[in-house]
């Protein structure tokens, strides 16, 4: 068994246990930060191993696949693990200044690390039922994070989040059980051949649709996204940031994995549905955002519309489109988490997140203004920021296929995104504060200011670097897309040699 694959999952859980046991001590949150630093180091190690070998896999407790539980990492998984660790580090540092004593005593940092562990596990597992278990791990810790700090509003949001996510869980479980009943295996690599060889392809499509529903609800695609804007603006800002960055992306990742590796037999049906879903998700998300006037609610709706772009990359299923989807996924996590962190700082300065009740940030805190513009413009797809390349590739891929309508929707969504971002800019930053307050950054104590701003600056720098030097990231995403489209290397690595799949 290879520790390179297991450690990125183990470390967050160790950090979680330590942070939870010491939650009544002062500074117990630093355990979480320490765990996140270790996660980043281990994720880089994993990424290097993957770049060297292509795909790596290991069998837990040394049972050969398809009988044991497989951990496997290809380019996409490894990149997702690294980006999870980066977000974990950024948010855990930021949370040191934001998450209060009461929440810490209730075990906030422990739950946070559990969530990171669950997300990492979902990215690394090579087994469908194991994926279900990781979904449960991250789901139950997200429930906890959502209600800690327990305002009435958070309880309201949590009710919708919990109930709708539980439905998706039940469907996912049912689909996994039926897959096993039909094929006799749950190992994803093994399923690739088993599903293709199954005599009743209609049944396979039915199961595929159940997976699409389950993962689609987690990924918050049209018409299953209603829980997201109902809940993401209610908890701690740190929780919002990590949810916005990572949770829906686990759903997108699962869609990408399942619909490139396992259910590719009836693409005319499944991927056509995904294409429509992608277009409607982009449009409904961005239109929903246009109607909102709360900083976090606007951002929440934009998560939905951006998910559409990633699903679009999967739905088109060409090398270029998938590359765009992967690139979008990676760039978006950084940008979105950062925007929520900035919303948190702005709330700290102005006392509210209602755009009509705040203002004056540009005059009194110009640094925050610049830091907001970087991810906001990147989200809308301005050159030369990372979002531009992501959108450019996806639009080009749809034009190559002659899908004019899709390209038009993608461009229109970009345009409307600019509208929402200028709305935030005009209301929160440009106009004077209605109460005449001067919300300067210097009103925050220096230590807290450092903790709040350093993750924001680091994530903004990453956005700029990806935007200015996109080539290595594009090359990386290209290999990731090739691996997704041609899973033979993945299958050969997971399944023991000599056994014909």
């Amino acid at each position: 068994m290879s520790w390179t694959l297991a450690l990125p999952i183990l470390v967050p859980f160790c950090a979680a246990a330590a942070a939870f046991l010491l939650r009544n001590r002062r500074g117990s949150g630093w355990i979480s930060v320490l765990g996140a630093v270790a996660s980043v180091v281990l994720a880089i190690r994993l990424l290097l191993a993957v770049v060297e070998n292509g795909v790596i896999a290991t069998q837990m407790s040394a049972w050969d696949a398809p009988f044991g539980i497989t951990l496997a990492a290809d380019y996409l998984s490894a990149a997702m693990v690294l980006i999870t660790a980066i977000i974990s580090l950024g948010v855990s540092v930021w949370a040191m200044a934001e998450v209060g004593q009461i929440s810490t005593r209730m075990g906030w940092h422990g739950l946070f690390q559990t969530l990171i562990g669950g997300v990492t596990g979902a990215f690394l597992t090579g087994d469908l039922f194991n994926l279900y278990v990781w979904f449960e791990v991250l789901l139950i810790s997200s429930f906890g994070l959502l209600v800690i700090g327990g305002q009435r509003k958070a309880v309201d949001g949590a009710v919708k989040y919990v109930t709708l996510n539980l439905i998706s869980t039940v469907l996912f479980l049912c689909a996994a059980g039926l897959t096993y009943g039909a094929t006799g295996t749950l190992n994803m690599a093994d399923l690739h051949a088993a599903v293709a060889a199954h005599p009743d392809q209609g049944l396979m499509t039915v199961i595929a649709m159940m997976f699409m529903f389950g993962f689609g609800l987690k990924a918050a695609v049209f018409p299953l996204f209603f829980w997201l804007p109902a809940s993401y603006h209610t908890p701690h800002y740190a929780v919002s940031a990590v949810f916005a960055g990572l949770l829906t992306k686990v759903g997108v990742y699962a869609l990408m994995r399942v619909f490139t590796l396992i259910f590719v037999g009836d693409q005319g049906y499944t991927h056509e549905i995904l294409l429509w879903v992608a277009c409607l998700t982009m449009l409904s998300g961005v239109l929903g955002a246009a109607a909102q006037s709360d900083f976090r609610k606007i951002l929440s709706f934009h998560i939905v519309s951006q998910i559409g772009y990633m699903v679009l990359g999967l739905a088109l299923m060409t090398p270029l489109a998938l590359m765009g989807g992967v690139f979008y996924l990676l760039h978006h996590i950084i940008v979105k988490a950062n925007l929520f962190l900035i919303a948190g700082v702005s709330r700290r300065l102005t006392g509210s997140s209602d755009l009509y009740a705040i203002g004056g940030l540009y005059r009194s805190a110009p640094l925050l203004g610049v830091l907001f513009l970087i991810p906001a413009f990147s989200l809308a797809g301005f050159p030369p920021l990372s979002g531009f390349w992501a959108k450019y590739v996806l639009v080009k891929a749809s034009l190559d296929l002659g899908a004019w309508l899709v390209a038009f929707v993608a461009l229109l969504t970009g345009l409307l995104t600019i509208f929402s971002m200028t709305k935030i800019w005009a209301e929160a930053f440009w106009k004077p504060h209605p109460d005449g307050r001067q919300p300067a950054l210097s009103t925050i104590p220096p230590r807290q200011r450092l903790l709040l701003l350093s993750p924001v600056i680091a994530l903004a720098l990453m956005t700029v670097v990806i935007g200015l030097f996109p080539q290595p990231f594009v090359d990386f995403a290209t290999v990731a897309a090739e691996q997704l489209l041609d899973p033979s290397a993945y299958i050969a690595t997971v399944l023991p040699a000599g056994e014909a799949p």
Partner: protein, 119 residues
């Protein structure tokens, strides 16, 4: 036997959907409980049913001559039941918290996070 289980699973799901659409949070949870049990039965039935054939090896590790039950679906079920129990316990706790916060369990009237006159 499969037919009986399939019908039972269908009845459970139908009841679950009816309960979940009622708009009351507690009924929704009971519906969810029925739904997850319906799904559990479906998985159980999909894993092939064998009567009185436990998957045990004979003396010295020899394979028994007859067909054995497949223990994997049962292991999956146990995991799913345990996880479902934990999630349900949390959801029930949340329901109590919601009742204390709002004084009712009508989901349509829980509009605190999304006020109706939202502009």
């Amino acid at each position: 036997m499969e037919t009986v289980l399939a019908l039972l699973s269908g009845v459970l799901t139908a009841c679950a959907v009816w309960l979940m659409l009622s708009g009351n949070l507690l009924r929704f949870l009971f519906g969810l409980l029925l739904l997850s049990n319906g799904v559990n039965l479906a998985i159980f039935a999909a894993g092939r049913l064998t009567e009185g054939a436990p998957p045990l090896l004979g003396s010295g590790g020899t394979l028994p001559g007859h067909e054995m039950a497949n223990s994997l679906p049962q292991a999956l079920l146990l995991t799913a039941i345990v996880i479902g129990f934990g999630l349900f316990a949390f959801a029930l706790g949340l329901t109590i918290r919601a009742y204390r916060a709002f004084g009712h369990l009508n989901v349509d009237r829980m509009r605190l996070a999304e006020p109706e006159d939202d502009k």
